[in-house]
């Protein structure tokens, strides 16, 4: 094990291993060049939002970046609010919770209404256009995709919506590398669902965001 490659920035141990640089996969997309990105996933309980945050965080960790993931949810097993925040940075992260999001992914009307104000003006809003029928007004880039419908069409299982959405998020923004995301998804999904999740992920990654852009208000 190479002790220096994975230590958070700023605490690298000196040693002979120092010369070996970690291999980091390329990132391509709207947020790929940022050294500090804040992402918020929100919706209702049962949609797999906490797992989305966890997978994105694991993927960022695979990219050898510093990451903090936090979550908030109500007492209900299904329904109620659910939210997962991921902060990805090239340097150590002090403040652990989200300040203002660069990317907000909303999978329910209530979440879109409630959390759009946590988004920076120059941030990106993505929502499930099948669930958010009355999109909130947001001046920045807005992308509405019927994630749940696409996932059901692609795999026959609405449960794969979260993986398809993650594919779309990474395909469009490049917050993590596709390689790390794929690895993280495959580590996270239950046995026997690898194939359907791979299909959902591929469909998400292939989305062309120009097709789903919503006119800013």
């Amino acid at each position: 094990m190479n002790p220096s490659a994975n230590a958070p920035q700023g605490v690298r141990a000196a040693g002979p291993e120092e010369t070996e640089t970690p291999r980091v996969s390329a990132r391509v997309g709207l947020l790929a060049d940022r050294d500090f990105v804040e992402v918020r996933f929100c919706g209702s309980g049962g949609q797999g939002l906490l797992l989305m945050g966890l997978i994105l965080a694991v993927a960022a960790n695979h990219d050898h970046r510093c990451v903090v993931q936090t979550e908030s949810y109500g007492p209900e097993a299904r329904g109620g609010h659910s939210r997962s925040d991921v902060i990805i940075s090239d340097t150590a992260i002090d403040y652990p919770t989200l300040d203002s999001a660069d990317l907000l992914v909303a999978l329910s009307q209530e979440a879109a209404d409630g959390y759009t104000r946590s988004l920076r003006r120059e941030g990106i809003l993505m929502y499930d256009s099948g669930k958010v029928t009355n999109p909130p007004s947001f001046p920045g880039m807005t992308i509405g995709v019927p994630f749940t419908r696409l996932a059901t069409e692609e795999t026959g299982r609405p449960q794969t919506t979260n993986v398809l959405t993650l594919g779309a998020v990474v395909g469009i923004t490049g917050v993590v590398s596709v390689e790390s995301l794929t690895k993280a998804v495959m580590e996270a999904v239950p046995a026997g669902t690898t194939e359907v999740n791979a299909r959902a992920l591929a469909r998400g990654l292939a989305l062309d965001y120009a097709e789903w852009m919503v006119d800013s208000c």
């Binding site: 190479n2 994975n6 960790n61 695979h62 970046r65 652990p96 919770t97 996270a188």
Partner: protein, 392 residues
Amino acid sequence: MELWHSHLLREKIDQSSLLVQGNRACALGALDAGVRFFAGYPITPSSEIMEAMAYELPRVGGVFVQMEDEIASICACIGASLSGWLGMTATSGPGFSLMQEAIGYAIMVEAPLVIVDVMREGPSTGRVSAPSQGDVMQARWGTHGDHPAIVLAASNVADMYRLTMAAVRFAQRFRTPVTLLADEVVGHMRESFSPELVGRYRLTSGDFDFTPGYVHPDLAREVHPPHILGSEAHPHVTGCTHDETGFPTNDAKKSERFLHELYDKVTNHRDELCLYDVKNEGKGRVCVVAYGSCARSARAAWRLAELEGLPVEVLHLYTLFPLPIEVIQTVARRVEFMLIPELNLGQYAREVRKLAENWTTVISMGKIDGTLITPREILDQVTRLIGKYESV
């Protein structure tokens, strides 16, 4: 170290780079420190500690019991500790309230325990997944009577690991309950965590001795030798004020001496117990005194302050009680203001004020809306304080 690779703790991670949840790191620290008994009752936001212990303990020859409530949980831990094990439990505010009576008993019978309280917002049920630091004074004075308390506060995932180890060490050395406070954010968050980094803080197995009846030689005069249940002798264990035989006493001198000894064994060892860290030492006009997740906000505020040229230092406390009197007074002598951001209405600020008000102005900055104090809020307050001073 195979535990890193076990299913629950590994949590879908790369072998060399870990993304670990705070609660899981706490369980890992306990297992590494040799804790082999855990009794608990699940409660958000601490449940993952119990979940991990339930999975891991049977695999390392330990005992895990899910009890019917928190009162039974802590009593089972006391029983384990009196039998030569070290009992550990984890809970949140509502469960911590139920445990208070038994914590007093554990202090009185000198049973080493580790209690983890992952704090949530509000009294009673409150808000289950909102962070708070509202249990600070409960951790100090929750049980009745004059008693010692060792209270630690974790601010990140690595802290959850190493402070759990420290809690085990302190509990075992001083034969008293140790409370580790975390809040919902620290308990639930997952963070990049390198085992090598944590390796620096790892205590070696030589630091722990779980032999029944063990008392550390340094403390032989201060800590009373424990009575071991199930041993050859016929022990008597009581919550009544007792003498060295373990039987109750009504003798004023004996009971005064006993209670003093209980208190002094902790407060006389502040130099060993008080863990802290100072950033920008000696260069600030304002010192932000913080613990738990607020310490992270304070550090971020200090970095912003550097950019804006504001003279700020940060005193990060890992040990809240026994009060780090010397540490706080040393800083108080050199700064103009002490600012204490915390997720309650100034519980610890009152303690700091008592110690520091002769030398400096102590300002409490409390917040109880279930969100963290942001670095910007701290910095705005610092700017106001310095600005006010300039205008005078």
